[in-house]
Symmetry: C2
Subunit: 430 residues, 2 copies
């Protein structure tokens, strides 16, 4: 898996992570200019310098102060960090220090775990409403607060597994583009009530924008639409994460949190909500962040339309094995296998089944009660294993019968979203 580095050879050849930190304190225009220059510089940089870089991994805690040094750096430009499973499995609630990061755009001053101030932060509510409203973050803080513990997962999580058939573009996430986090904030419907927002019946979508801006000024600004009917009674405008003001890098001071939805729909640095009759056709809503409705042969790149694709909204049911890990060597006898499972929270996870004979038979694992319907379900099972090579497979199924495909590549799509295949690891029993 190639790691990308900040393209800033003209500034400091030896420590690109320092450059990223500096960039975080620049304003947007200056940052774009810097990156632009750097990109030009990159083209003419000597080959030996590139090689030298590749040998110096970036320290995530320098890229985003406060982050654990053991995180995997996928992209230091906007800050894309993955949580290794060894860290992910240590806590029921993922601490801010180890939580994954995936940013599409850039907000000056946001590459830190420190919070941004509530003061002067406002959110505009507009579109198919009787009268537009502007509410302040401090007003939000005075409204009734709701808590939710939930899986936050990048829709690209697991993308690297699509490479078993045809590799797809984008960050090559393994299992750690996710975490289980507690949020606190104001229910969307409460915000609308308290701000006296009257919505026209023709409004079917909620489109959200953050205060961040594209790295390239001419690029379309990041935004997403979600179905209003589905989110109105569960989305929250969150002010806290894990009991503290939301760290800047995770979208504070105000983030749109939609339990059960993929991370990308949980708009960071929220500053505008639009009530609309149609889903936005912004580049980030289509063709990005969508999957084909009908499966295609891996490698097939059909034009993505509103008819043949669906957005990365509801998280697919999924389980991962987090102990043992791929290529582990374990002692023969009873082997304990454990992991977590989750879905979109619409119904409960019914069971996680484990197979040690490549799908011929499956046994039900012990499932722990989750903190909420949107949180992950830890599971564990002990199976007798003889010495030799073994494959361990896990498959979650929920109360609606929604489960994981045996071969996750059935859901192949050009951008490698929504990997939810049966998790499969190989281990050696000695």
């Amino acid at each position: 898996m190639p790691t990308k580095y900040l393209r800033s050879p003209n500034r400091d050849h030896q420590s690109p992570s320092t450059s990223a930190l500096d960039a975080a304190s620049l304003d947007r225009r200056a940052f774009v200019k810097l990156v632009g220059t750097a990109a030009i510089g990159w083209g003419v940089s000597p080959v030996h310098l590139r090689a030298a870089w590749a040998q110096r991994p970036i320290d995530p805690s320098r890229l985003i102060p406060g982050k654990d040094r053991r995180l995997i750096v996928h992209n230091s430009k906007t800050g894309v960090l993955e949580t290794p499973v060894e860290l992910l499995r240590q806590h029921r609630v993922t601490p801010k220090e180890t939580l994954f990061v995936r940013n599409n755009q850039f907000l000056p001053g946001s590459l830190t775990l420190d919070p941004l101030p509530l003061d002067n932060w406002t959110i505009e509510i507009m579109g198919l409403v009787k009268a537009p409203r502007i509410i302040s973050a401090t007003e939000l803080a005075q409204m009734e607060q709701t808590d939710v513990e939930m899986v936050l997962q990048c829709s690209g999580n697991g993308r690297s597994y699509y490479a078993r058939t045809v590799k797809t573009r984008g960050t090559q996430w393994k299992k750690g583009g996710m975490g289980n986090v507690r949020w606190r904030g104001v229910l969307l419907k409460t915000v609308f009530e308290r701000a006296e927002v009257t919505i026209h019946p023709s409004a079917r979508f909620l489109t959200a924008e953050g205060k961040d801006a594209p790295l390239v000024p001419t690029a379309p600004d990041f935004e997403h639409s979600v179905p209003l009917h589905d989110v109105i009674d569960k989305a929250i405008l969150a002010l806290e994460m894990n009991g503290e003001p939301i760290p800047a890098v995770h979208g504070g001071p105000v983030r749109l949190i939609i339990p059960g939805y993929y991370g990308t729909m949980n708009i960071k640095w929220l500053h505008r909500l639009r009530l609309e009759a149609h889903e936005t056709f912004n580049h980030h809503q289509i063709p990005r962040y969508r999957t084909y409705i009908r499966p295609v042969k891996p490698g097939t790149r059909l034009k993505r339309t509103f008819e043949n694709t669906a957005p990365n909204w509801h998280q697919r049911v999924k389980s991962i094995i987090w102990s043992p890990l791929e290529d582990d060597v374990v002692a023969a006898g009873p082997v304990t296998i454990s992991g977590v499972a989750w879905n979109d929270g619409m119904v409960e996870i019914e069971a996680v089944y484990v197979s040690t004979d490549r799908g011929r038979t499956w046994q039900r694992a012990r499932l722990q009660v989750p903190a909420s319907r949107y949180a992950w379900y830890p599971w564990t099972i002990t199976v007798p294993l003889r010495p030799g090579q073994h494959e361990i497979w896990s498959r979650a199924i929920d109360a609606l019968g929604r489960s994981q495909p045996l071969d996750g590549s059935i859901h192949w799509n050009p951008s490698g979203y929504e990997w939810y295949g049966v998790d499969k690891i190989r281990i050696t029993v000695s």
Copy 2:
């Protein structure tokens, strides 16, 4: 399960099935009048007469000449017949004599297995098209023909199992509101090409009407909308069933066949196709023939809207056990269990798993290759069973990970559509 009888005590108290046959030869207006009179008569009929009726089961072969006498009569007014599993399992392709029947409305002369003539039968194509067209059934017969073997299933099939929680209205189907049938006809896209139909890009739905009429003249005429994008390359205007002209009672001379869709969308006696921007809001499209998107507690009757429901379009993945049968007594030792599985044909069925320990462990059954992706997959497995009472459960899962809920009542809806729960039977091993 109460059987309903034709309400015609004024005509012939002793043989209501004869009345139904007579009615079939009346024109629509006379029939409605007859039923109306009968309904009034019913209210004043002596209790002992009703009791006498209940003891005289209607002979399906008199209700619909040619049908097997062993079919279950659910409604003799429009002709609603179920295939007992004992008959269903005898053939890979369900013969016309035993195929289930479910009619919402009435077409004079259609209660027979005989075909209706192609002559003078036309289909109008209208709506968002450059110019409306009328094509004749005889023209269709001269176009390129396509064959498909597929499961035809009433969306009410299995409705009786919802009564395990809260009984729902409508025909109390068990497992036999389905069959596996071969159709031959012209692909919809071929029809459009040959008839030079130019469709406006805003057309997103295909709405189909048959020549039948409501039993009550003021009732809304039966019609359904399906998503044009999804059906355009698989729907056919069928002229033959199982190698013969389509029997009148099964929708000939021309029936809209949409492989993978529930039976109700396969409009019989097709005479009009409308290309439209919006799904029809006809009574039979909404609130009828829809299920809630979010599960509700059984018994909950939310107003059904376009937002909170989805139409009975794609068939849910499903398996049924057809041997042994509920309450069978079998000899101890290896017991062979068999049945069929199917889905909407979007992807293959991956496996059918069977559990004899109430879901703790599951074993993969042997699956036969189906005749088409839309046909049923016969499966079989042999398991050792000790003497005593046993529950046998079957669960199909497809290549997308779509499977059956352990408790099918999770999908409860006021009209009891789309039962697809894990199939469960109790048997005694002696």
